[in-house]
Subunit: 465 residues, 2 copies
Amino acid sequence: MSNTSDNYPASNRRDFIRTLGVIGAGVTAVGALPSAEAAPSTRPSGARYMGDFAAPKLEKVRWGAIGVGARGSGHVAQLAQIEGSEVVAISDLYDDLAKKSADKIKKLGKPEPVLYSGSPTKYHEMLARPDIDAVIISTPWEEHAPMAIAAMKAGKHAFVEVPLANTLKEIWDVVEVSEKTGKHCMMMENVNYGREELMYLNMVRQGVIGELLHAEAAYIHELRGQMKELPRGTGSWRTKYYSTANGGNLYPTHGLGPVAQYMNLARTGDTFDRLVSFASPGRGRGLYAKENFPADHQWNQMKFECGDITTQLIKTKLGRTIMVQWDETSPRPYSRHNLIQGTKGTLAGFPDRAAIEGRGSYHEWIEGEDFKKLYGEFEHPLYKRMGELAVKMGGHGGMDFIMLYRMVECLRNGEPLDQNLYEGALWSAVRPLSAKSEADGGEPQKFPDFTRGHWKTTKPLGIVS
Amino acid sequence: MSNTSDNYPASNRRDFIRTLGVIGAGVTAVGALPSAEAAPSTRPSGARYMGDFAAPKLEKVRWGAIGVGARGSGHVAQLAQIEGSEVVAISDLYDDLAKKSADKIKKLGKPEPVLYSGSPTKYHEMLARPDIDAVIISTPWEEHAPMAIAAMKAGKHAFVEVPLANTLKEIWDVVEVSEKTGKHCMMMENVNYGREELMYLNMVRQGVIGELLHAEAAYIHELRGQMKELPRGTGSWRTKYYSTANGGNLYPTHGLGPVAQYMNLARTGDTFDRLVSFASPGRGRGLYAKENFPADHQWNQMKFECGDITTQLIKTKLGRTIMVQWDETSPRPYSRHNLIQGTKGTLAGFPDRAAIEGRGSYHEWIEGEDFKKLYGEFEHPLYKRMGELAVKMGGHGGMDFIMLYRMVECLRNGEPLDQNLYEGALWSAVRPLSAKSEADGGEPQKFPDFTRGHWKTTKPLGIVS
């Protein structure tokens, strides 16, 4: 659901294509994966397990923001309006975007943020400020991990747009820095706060569909139009990712996050074990470039070899299965699948529908008006409390606001976050693992255990009210 | 869509569970697969490629039927009513079922079939009759291959219910006997004759959704109730198949057959390359047994370890992908997915829906009444010719009748069949290959090339009118 910022930083993108090629072809992987996979099974001394981490209470959460483009500008405007939350500083590559967000916050009657803009390294100056508690990062994918690491090393909690990082090596680095600094690093999966997703979480926790056996997740979202966002904008950097053959599922977390929490993965009970992936041929971006840009345009100088649709199968330690798909190219309607299947029924999305043993015939879906009645019975307490305000505040139908509100609330209460470090790490690991599986002809890839065995004793996410 | 006959033969089912266990665990596979996979790359002398085979014209097609239970009884009643088709003889384990089908045919004013019933080997006597041209086999899965082989060796064309066979070894045996005897062996995939499927075939052949990249197929059909079909009936033998861990996709062809023909697999252009499979835990059958049968009942003496839902990913030689699922246990509505995705759009089933570039917004599905309008433009010529009669004749909404009619028509015209030997072989191979992949932790399995390279020069299935 998120488009990360369009504008930070461009400096090191000259070698972007080459780097992607290397990652995609598994060449760095050959160097990086074995050591990444074989990461120490014991945590270095001085490092702590972060799965149930609660930071000391903050009376007010003082934010620094890196990246206020298409995505980050919405975040800072919302954060500025949450009680006990203040946007102290903003960094962006572009002066005008930084100023625009600052003006908006000022107009809301909130203190005006200090700006650090105009250079790709300027954010380091912002991180040196002692009056910032947490940093929110909404930049291109390749910047997520380095910026989160820099923020934590500067003593700030890090909140990062999806995905957490691009490679297994980067994910391990993020994990280790968080464990060493004792700072939160949450990948902000907004979809886990969708109204339907919250209700399904509530229903599965109540046992409505029995023992959970299988899930389906996707990010099917036709975004070819982004290719026209030039010279800056999401499409200006994101489009380049589609060039790499065997690129894997570039954007797995929106569909996967919610179903992983339904299934309680990376918490007591079960976790990710292995994954296989196949990609279709890549055709759509090249066709779109031909139809929409002149022959000498950069998009017509590039081969778009990443599969138009990629499909993964994940097996958990308990043997449960998840089918994951990604397609940002093909002309078809949006879907995240959002399907969770148990011994007593199935809940699914796009369109919302349910089949529950003992509630009418499970041979027909409960849908439309009948589906809406389920909210009367199973609306999640968090949505009951915040839904009305969230819809007013907006951001993908309110899910963004609930997420940001909860981040502030947990930090102020000194409570563990709803999504822990390792969940973001595991959900994001689907990208490099699927790329590797595709390059290896569908060979299964083991998920690293970023928790180093601690998933077995980490409390499940409860029904937050 | 089909339930194969419930009643033929029980004699060799005593060792059934043990045998299944062996197959499922890949133990026979270890013995059988290597030789099966390494089957001669050249065809034995005297054998011929059957992919484009047309048998000499028959003025009348004289049928022998093996198995007239839940499935076969419908077939013989329809075959008896098709012009140029006569059911000469019927064999069944049970006298009463054979008689019931014969009576029905007599009542239709057709010549009464001769009966061969009462013993599991009695069908061999029927096969010795010189006045039978073709045999239709609707028996439990484990009998399909041996009976088809016996029929062809007796000089008859074989028409077999789905799946063609249980193991790769059996599939190779069927292929080699057909090639040596010059007799047809068609696996009767009725779903390829569904109205929606025929229209989609027509649409993709016209290029409506561009280059085909990805498909999805399933047999999701809650059939736990079959467990009550005792002492004889489909559930009496089929239920036992669910006992085997890593059983794979036991019933892949109904969803797969149509999408494989859309994609023109095993014909000029592309064919199946490899497959991966993961199964969920097996829970539903055991729970159902506990709730519905006494503790000492055979279903409560058995462990149901076959995954409730299994998911496969198939990669074709051209790199296209197919996601296949099977679930006969979970309480959820029926689906075969029937999804085909191309560069210009996606067609899907359950419910029927389409998204086509250039026809309104592809961000919304064309469905309901708008979908029905597509029939005005794209109805398949075969359905235009036969649809009205087929609906009257029945059999899964008419698809059975169109299939049987086409079998007779092709034999009478001396034309190749709509589904050739190798298509049935490849679609059925998903079962043993998925079992092996599951047993091996998701390892990719190569499809044997049953055509021995001839798929490259076999004509695509045209738009039969």
